[in-house]
Symmetry: C2
Subunit: 198 residues, 2 copies
C-alpha cells in the first residue's frame, strides 16, 4: 500500500530491537513529514558513527581514538580491571563516580540457549591482558541475572590458574534487573561492597 521506498524504510526500522510494526510505521511516516534536514541528519549521523567509531583494541569499548581515553589515562588505576558485558554498563559505572580503574568489555554474556558460548565473548583478549601482570584485581561486573552470574562463574574458573584476585559486584544490585537501569547510588554501593570470590 505504501510506496516501495516507504515500505522499505518501515522494514528497516522493524529490524531494530524493540521496534514493532506500528512504531516502525510511525517513525518512517514522521521522518517523511519532518523537515528534510532531520532525515538527512539522522542518515549522516548513522554513517559518521559507523565510520568514525571503533572498538578499543585494549578494552573493547566504543571509541574514536584507539586506545580509548580510559585505557590511555595514566591517572586511572591500571591494576584494577572491571569486566562488564556491554559498553552501556561501562557508562553506568562511570556515571556512579565510584570506580577509578580500567575496564574490559565482553560484548555479551554466556547464554547457551541463544548460542552464545565462551568463544563469542572477548575472553582471549582478557587473558592476554592479564598475562602482562599489571592487573592485580579483576572485578566481575557482569549482570545480576542468570547469564551474568554464569559468565562471572565461568571467568572466575578461567582465571584460577593466574593467581589474580577476583571479586564480584556486591548484591546491592536488584536481582534480575540489568546494570544499565540501576541508579548511581546502587552502583556505588555495589562497587564498595564487592566481595572476593577466590
Amino acid at each position: 500500500m505504501y510506496p516501495r521506498a516507504v515500505a522499505r524504510l518501515i522494514e528497516e526500522f522493524k529490524r531494530l530491537p524493540g521496534i514493532g510494526p506500528r512504531t516502525a510505521q510511525r517513525l518512517a511516516l514522521y521522518l517523511l513529514s519532518a523537515p528534510r534536514e532531520q532525515a538527512e541528519r539522522l542518515a549522516a549521523a548513522l554513517k559518521e558513527a559507523r565510520e568514525t567509531t571503533v572498538y578499543c583494541s585494549v578494552c573493547g569499548n566504543l571509541t574514536d581514538v584507539d586506545p580509548c581515553k580510559i585505557c590511555a589515562d595514566p591517572a586511572r588505576d591500571h591494576s584494577l580491571l572491571c569486566v562488564v558485558e556491554e559498553p552501556r554498563d561501562l557508562l553506568a559505572i562511570e556515571r556512579s563516580g565510584g570506580f577509578r580503574g580500567v575496564y574490559h568489555i565482553l560484548h555479551g554474556a554466556l547464554s547457551p540457549l541463544d548460542g552464545i558460548g565462551p568463544e563469542k565473548l572477548r575472553l582471549k583478549e582478557l587473558l592476554t591482558r592479564l598475562e602482562k601482570g599489571e592487573v592485580t584485581e579483576v572485578i566481575l561486573a557482569t549482570g545480576p541475572d542468570t547469564e551474568g552470574e554464569a559468565t562471572a562463574l565461568y571467568i572466575r574458573r578461567l582465571l584460577e590458574p593466574l593467581g589474580v584476585k577476583v571479586s564480584r559486584l556486591a548484591y546491592g544490585l536488584p536481582v534480575g534487573a540489568e546494570i544499565e537501569f540501576a541508579d548511581e547510588e546502587t552502583i556505588l554501593r555495589a562497587i564498595q561492597g564487592r566481595r572476593q570470590i577466590r
Copy 2:
C-alpha cells in the same frame, strides 16, 4: 562519555516521536554492533524514501507517482471523497476493504493548544477539489477524539455554502482512540453506518 559521533547518533534518535533517552541509546549501540550493512541499509532507505516520495498533488497521500495510484484509478468512485487526518488513516481504511471512493489527507487535525489552526491543514486544496463539482459526498473520517471532532465540525461549516452532501464516520469507532489502531471490522461498520450531518 560516548565518542562524539555516537552521542550525535543518540541525539538524532531522541528527536523521533516516542523515543526516550534509553531507547535512543539502545538503538544507536545496536546499530554500531550490528553488521555494517544494516546501518548502511537504514541510512540508504531513509535517503531513498525522502528522495523518491512526494505528497500526491491531488489528495496529499504519500506516493512515488503523482497523482497517486488511488487518484489515478478510473475504477474508484471519484464522486465520494473521504477526508482523513494522516496517510496512516487512509491505509487503515483501505485495509478494511469497505471504501471505493477517493481520499483527501489533511495532514493534521485542529488543535489550538498545539498551535494547529485551519491554515495548517490542507483545506484550501479541499475546496479547490470540491469546486470542480465531481464530488457529491464528503465523508469526514477525522479521528473520534476531540481534535478530530472539532476538525469535522469546522469542515462541515466550511462546506455548507457548497451544497455537497457531508457525512461523518459512524461511532462504531471506540471514542477517544485513534483510527490507525481500530480493527478492520470496526472501520468497516463505521463506513457503512456513516450518518449525514447536513
